[in-house]
Structure formats: C-alpha cells, structure tokens
C-alpha cells in the first residue's frame, strides 16, 4: 500500500457519487452514493422499479447519468460502455443478452475483446502474432468455461443452452474481460434452489479470484448468504446501507417491501408485496421485471 493520503482509495474499486438519472419527469435514480472495495461482495436490493438496473446502466455507461460521477480505482469513468469495460468493470444483464447465434466459446471470445489487440491487418495478413494471440485467447476462454462449468458445451449455440447455463455464460463472458469489478443483475432469476446454490458458489469463487462483486437480487436468502454489505434502493433513493442482517431488520426496508405506502406510489406497495412473497418462496421468475 502506498503511503500517500489517497490510501483509502487504493482499496476502493468503485466509487459512485451523487448519481442521478432522470427520464423526462421521472427520476429513476436520485443522488445515489455507493462504494465497493476490493474483495467485497455488495448487494443491491429494492422493490421492482426501484431503479437498480438503471443505476447499473449509469455505472456502465449505457445511460449517461444526469448528474453525478462514477470512479473506478480512483479514475473517473467516461460514460461510454466500451471504455468502462476497458477500464475494468464488467456486467451481466437482467434479461439475458447473449449473442444468441454465436457459439458459447465465441461469446466468451467476444468478451475478451478489450484484452486482445489483433487488428484487421493482423487478421488479413495473418501476421506472426495473430495465431499466438488467437490461441492464447481461446485457451483463456476455455479456462473460463471450465471455471463456470460450460466447457463441454463450448461449441453449442448460446441460444440452445438451458436457461441457467445462459446465465452462467453471461458471467463467463463478463469475466473474459478480466474485470476488477463484476456487476451482476439478478443472476439467479428463474433458477431453482440447486442452481441458486451453485451460483452462490460461483460468486464466492469469483470473489476469491480478487474480483469485487456488486449484485442485484430479489432473493433475500441469497443476499444474506453472499453479501458483506447491502444497499437498499427504494424509488431511486438509497435508504439504507450496511451489513446484511442489520439491513434486513431495518424498519424502513421492511416498510418498503411489506407495504407501508410511500407518498404518491399507489401501485408500488402491491407490487412490492408480491415481490417479497415471491422472494421468500424462492420462486422468482424471469418475467417479473416490470
């Protein structure tokens, strides 16, 4: 560790401050501050429509935040997705967005885009480095498939994988960009309990590789098992942050989930109620995102 005054930032992987996202009149994310440190798994929970995914999109440059800035390991990120990935933040999507008609291996190879250099000329002229780089990339991709347990399906089309494996492939593809921070948007949505447990193991293994994880999830038990710290987003605002058990017993969180109505949110309470019940039953399905 360096001895400069910025010592704390050397362990801070992500530092989002004052992130606000407005869509016309709707403020989906309001002044959210969040930090993630190395070696941490941080949970982000909140009822449907709370703005969790929107917050992720702001972090990764898919949305340009109306206000606020996002810093990765001390440098402020420009709101361009490919630069964010280049810097070291990788993500998965809530509604799976694989390259459906590419093979599993190719999907992961695409994930390696920022970590490889071979340009068009190198490919056309098959310059000396080309084959080496390509082989190395393939080897690395196979390692990741091994790691996520998809190696046997390397040559399948992504679209032909069962649902749970598609989620795993999204994670493998994200890991291929060698990130320092992985953002997971509902990684266990639609999974059965066994698959969920396997996903937990996978996320712990990712953390053990030295990658910090920020995970959105509705499954409270999953969050409790996994996270060192949990932040709760309600109607775009972060209302609580702290250790998982503390957050779980916080009355504001219970209110948000179980339905003391917030001002001016008539439909929200019912939605949250249903959601909480679903989370309890661990039967969250894919289609619940709206």
């Amino acid at each position: 560790m360096t001895t400069t005054t910025t010592a704390p930032t050397s362990t801070t992987v992500l530092d989002a401050s004052g992130v606000t996202m407005r869509f016309g009149g709707l403020t989906a994310v309001r002044d959210v501050n969040l930090t993630v440190n190395t070696g941490e798994i941080v949970g982000l929970i909140g009822p449907n429509g709370a703005g969790k995914t929107t917050f992720f999109n702001c972090l990764t440059g898919l949305y340009v935040p109306t206000e606020g800035k996002v810093a990765y390991k001390g440098t402020v990120l420009p709101p361009k997705p490919h630069l964010v990935t280049q810097a070291g933040i990788a993500r998965t999507f809530q509604n799976i967005r694989l390259f459906a008609n590419m093979t599993v291996l190719e999907n992961v190879l695409v994930g390696r885009h920022t970590r490889t250099k071979e340009g068009l000329w190198s490919a056309l002229l098959r310059l000396p480095g080309f084959k080496k780089a390509e082989d190395a990339s393939r080897a690395r991709a196979m390692e990741l498939l091994e790691f996520t347990g998809l190696a046997a399906k390397a040559d399948h089309l992504a679209r032909n994988l069962p649902y749970g494996e598609q989620r795993k492939l999204e994670i493998a593809r994200a890991l291929a960009s060698e990130p320092g921070l992985l953002l997971l948007d509902e990684p266990t949505a639609g999974m059965n309990p066994q698959e969920t447990r396997a996903a937990e193991e996978l996320i712990f293994a990712i953390r053990d590789k030295g990658i910090a994880v920020l995970v959105i999830e509705h499954d409270i038990r999953f969050i409790m098992n996994l996270c060192d710290r949990v932040a709760v987003l309600v109607q775009g605002e972060k209302i609580v942050e702290g250790p998982a058990d503390v957050v779980q017993s916080d009355e504001r969180v219970i209110a948000a989930y179980l339905g003391t109505p917030f001002e001016g949110a008539p439909g929200e309470a019912e939605a949250a109620e249903v959601e909480a019940a679903e989370a309890e039953a661990q039967s969250t399905t894919e289609g619940d995102d709206k």
């Binding site: 190879l109 190198s122 080309f130």
Partner: protein
Amino acid sequence: MTTEIPMDKTTDTTKVSTAQATPIVPLPHAAARALTVAGSALALIGTFLAWTWTREFPGNLTVTGYPGGLQVLTLVGSALTLLFTLSGYGIRGLGWLTPGGKNSPVLLAALGVFGTTGYAMGAISQELGGLVNLEPGAWVSGIGALVALIGALGLPVDQPYGAEDPNPNLWGRIRHSLTAPEPGRAKELPSWAEILIIAAGFGVGLYVFAFGIGTEYSELFIGFLIIAAFGFTAVTRAGLLKRLSALTAKHRNVAMAAAFVAAICFPFTQTNDQFALIGANILIFATVALGLNVVVGLAGLLDLGYVAFLGVGAYAAALVSGSPQSSIGVHFPFWAAVLTGAAASLIFGVVIGAPTLRLRGDYLAIVTLGFGEIFRITMNNLNGNSGPDVTNGANGIPNIPDLEIFGFNLGLPHNVLGHELTRSGNYYLLMLLFTAIVVMVFRRSAESRIGRAWVAIREDETAATAMGINGFRLKLLAFALGASLAGLAGTVQAHVSYSVTPEQYEFAGPVPPNSAFLLAAVILGGMGTISGPLIGAALLYLIPAKLQFMAEYQLLLFGVALMLLMRFRPEGLVADRRKQLEFHETGQLDVPEDKSLPDGATGVAKAGA
C-alpha cells in the same frame, strides 16, 4: 464455410417421432418402387427417340439427333431418378448415394424430370402450333416421367410427421414428403480419396454451371433451371451435399483450391467470347456481393447504396486509365490504378460512414440509399454545365483502353495451352484473382477478433458495447472494408465494360450490379457465407441475361421469387450454420429476446429492465 467452429455433433434438434407418415398416393411399396424404376427407364429411353419432326424447334430434337437440347436434361434427370431409386432398393455399391433421405430425393428428381419433360412438350406444341408436332419419343418420355412421378409419390415417406403437426393436410403432407433426415456421420476415407471426392464435386459443379452459361436459347435455359433446381434439392435431401460440405470443412484449403481451379478452367470450356464475358460479369457482380456481405452479413448493417462504391472505384480507375475522354489524362499502371480505385472507395466509405453509422437499423438503410443516389446524380452533374467538368456527365468516360500487365495485353486473344483465350476470358481470369482476394479477406476477417466483434454487433449491439466493443469504430471498419473491396472490383469493371456511366450505378435496374440486386444476391445466397453470395450473384445475373424475352416482367418475377424464397428458405440457398438454426428451430428453449427497443428519451438503447 465462414466460421471455423468445429462441426456441431449435437442432435438435440431431433424431433420426437409421433405419427408414421403416409405416402400421397396409396400404393404397395414394391409396386411404387417398380413403377418409379419403369417410369424413369421409359423417360430415359424416350430421349433417344425423336421428340419432334422439325428442326424449327431449337436444339434438334428430331430423329437424326442424339439426345440433344432439352432431351439431354430429361436424360440426366431420369438417370438421376433411376440411381436414387435403385439405391433405395439397397443395391450394393449405390448406398452411398442416399446417406440422408432415401425416397424424397427420388420424388424430387422425378418432379424435376416431369417438369422439364412437360415443359419441353408444352414449348414444342406451343411454338410449332399444336400437339401434332410431338413425335412418339416425347410421349414416351412424358408418360414415363408421369409414371415415375406417381410411383415416387407412392414411396414410403422418409420421416414421421413432426410432433407439432401430427396430422397435416394435403399440402402439408406433400411438403413433408419432400423433407428428409440428416445423414449420419460418414465413415473415414483415406485423405486422397476424400480430396478426390471434393475435386469430383467441384468438377460436377463447374460442369453444371458452364452448361447453364452456355445454354444458347431460352427454352434450354428454362429446362435447365427446372432440372437444376429439383436436382440440387434432391442431392441435398439425399444428404450428399452435407457429406460434401463436411469434407470441404475438413480439407478447407484443398476445397478452396479445387473451387479456384474449377473456376480457372471455366474460360477454357467456352469457345464463345460472349459466354466468357457473362462469366467475367458474374465474377464482378459476385465479388461486389461478397464485399457487401461483410457489411450486411457480418456486421449487420443494411447498406442500400452499396453500388456507389463500385462506381467510385470504376470512376477512379477510368480517370487514371489514360482514356482520351478522361479529364485528368494520366495513365497509371494497373497496380496503381487498383490502389487508386480502392483508396477512393475507402475514403468515400469513411466519409459516408462516419456520420451515418451512428444511426441504427432502418435509418441507416435510408441514409445509405440516399447517398447511393447522390453519387449517381453527382456523377451526372460533374459535366461542365451543372458543375466542374470531371466525369462528362451522362456520357460517362468511354474508350477506356485495355489493360496491359507485364506486357500481356488483356484486350487481345492469346493462345494458352492450345486454347484460344479471348479478351473476355483474359478479364475473367484477372477478375478471378480479385475474387480470390476478396474471398480471402472475407474469410480471414470473419475468423478473427474483428469478425467476431462484427457478428456480436449484429446480434446485439448494446451487449456488444458492454463487452468493450467500440461499436461505432467497428461498424466504420466494416463499412470501409466493404467499400474498398467494391472499389477493387470497380477498377476491373471499368476496363471490362470499356466505359463508365452514371447509369451503371443505380439503386435498382435491369442490369445486375445495382444495389438492390447486390443485396438480393447476398440474401438469396445466404448471409454471412462465402459461397452464398457467389451462387446468388451467378443466378441473379444468369436468369435475366438468359431470359431476355421476359425483360418487362423481370423485376416482377424477381420480386415474386424473392418472396417465395423468404417464405420457404429464409436463410438463403447456402445456410450459415447459425442462420439455419435461427430460422428452423422451433424455439422450445427459452431464448432471450434481444431486439433493441425504441430508444429512450436519452437516446441510448434500453439496456436492462
């Protein structure tokens, strides 16, 4: 052929067999097969007899001729039917003919024979005025073909009905009887034998292709189209094409070389300069289509003004060709002219691409359509009246001199290996070199980090950028590469056609290399493949060139044909393995929806939620 993914061995697409399929015509199996054999044999014998009494019908179908003209087609078709049927009997040594479907190839071949023979009989009676002009031979063949068809319709159907429709109606049953299961894995042969098979395959391909180009009258060409279409489908259903493509995938470089050699042989099979010119033009068209395939097939960018890049290359080459009408009046050596043409197209591509590629989907299509037209109109206006005199306006740049490469004048006939190689033959061979370059560029770029990024953008641009791909830069790269490939082809085209005029580079027109036909060649042939656009371009060039009598209806028929194709084979003639799965798999699996929604208020695509 484009991707180097190992062959997928999974069989998870196998349908659950439910209802046993019944033949269309209820016949005992043995009787049906015997009928088919007898009918085909009869049709075959009939081709050795006279079909008509006069030589007025083109191709000499009278008693003096050996099987000639249309008779040859019936002969080949019925021989094919016979072979497939006998293979179905389990005769030793013929089993290799039908590794996939056993009976649907017979039915398809029989349909083809029936179609061509029937067409021939119809054409004879129509052109000579009445059925009386048919000699017994025609009746023998015709009845034989009909008997064979009835027999083939009575043969057992290759696969049981699919689970999704266990009880189809008549139309569904007919369509079903034309389907066949995929062949299993072939047993290993020694390498030399496999390479020999590849060579034979390409030899047959070349022969069929050269026959099509060499058809001298439209009746023969129509007959050829009928039998070729059915024959090709029959061979596909029999599983032979799969076997061949498995071999070519295994020996890819050999297969490439074989295709190249077959293509080199083409001008030596032609004695007529006109046919060699058709060959050269097909190559130009096909090369440009392949360039467009980088843009459309790989990167998924719908470019409706692509022919403009061909035009830029051609104009650039014409200006530096030393033509007396060129406003520059310099005469570059050929290699420099080629570089000039490609560079000019490249610059034009970047200039157009930089502002337009920030648009998505339909917007890009409309803007490129506009730019394509702007190019043509600008060339028209740079005539000294409406603008500076650069291109002579509508007159274009004529009198482009023939090329001379290493002292070899491409404008003069040369004697090569005892064969007179005409001017068009020379240009054909030169163009073939460019085609080979473009094929190589396509293949190598597709199988690289860049090519994967293009496909990723095509599949889901938002996810691609989230994986670290600079969408705009890569799209621009695809656009620029496509443009320079078209520019390359343009430099040769200017010399082949002696002159360049703005009217050669329209959006749609009767003469093939125009934007609409280029796109059609790519889609018809098969997006994202190498052989697809080549085959598509050959068909789209040949059909209008050979059937000039229906010039007025050409675009109409073209449209109808495209619609039918999109209905029945949306992935194109040559399916990219990916595309084939995409279009023909009934989505049992939960496949994520990946179409981008209309852009939100901020102008960025919706990512999650």
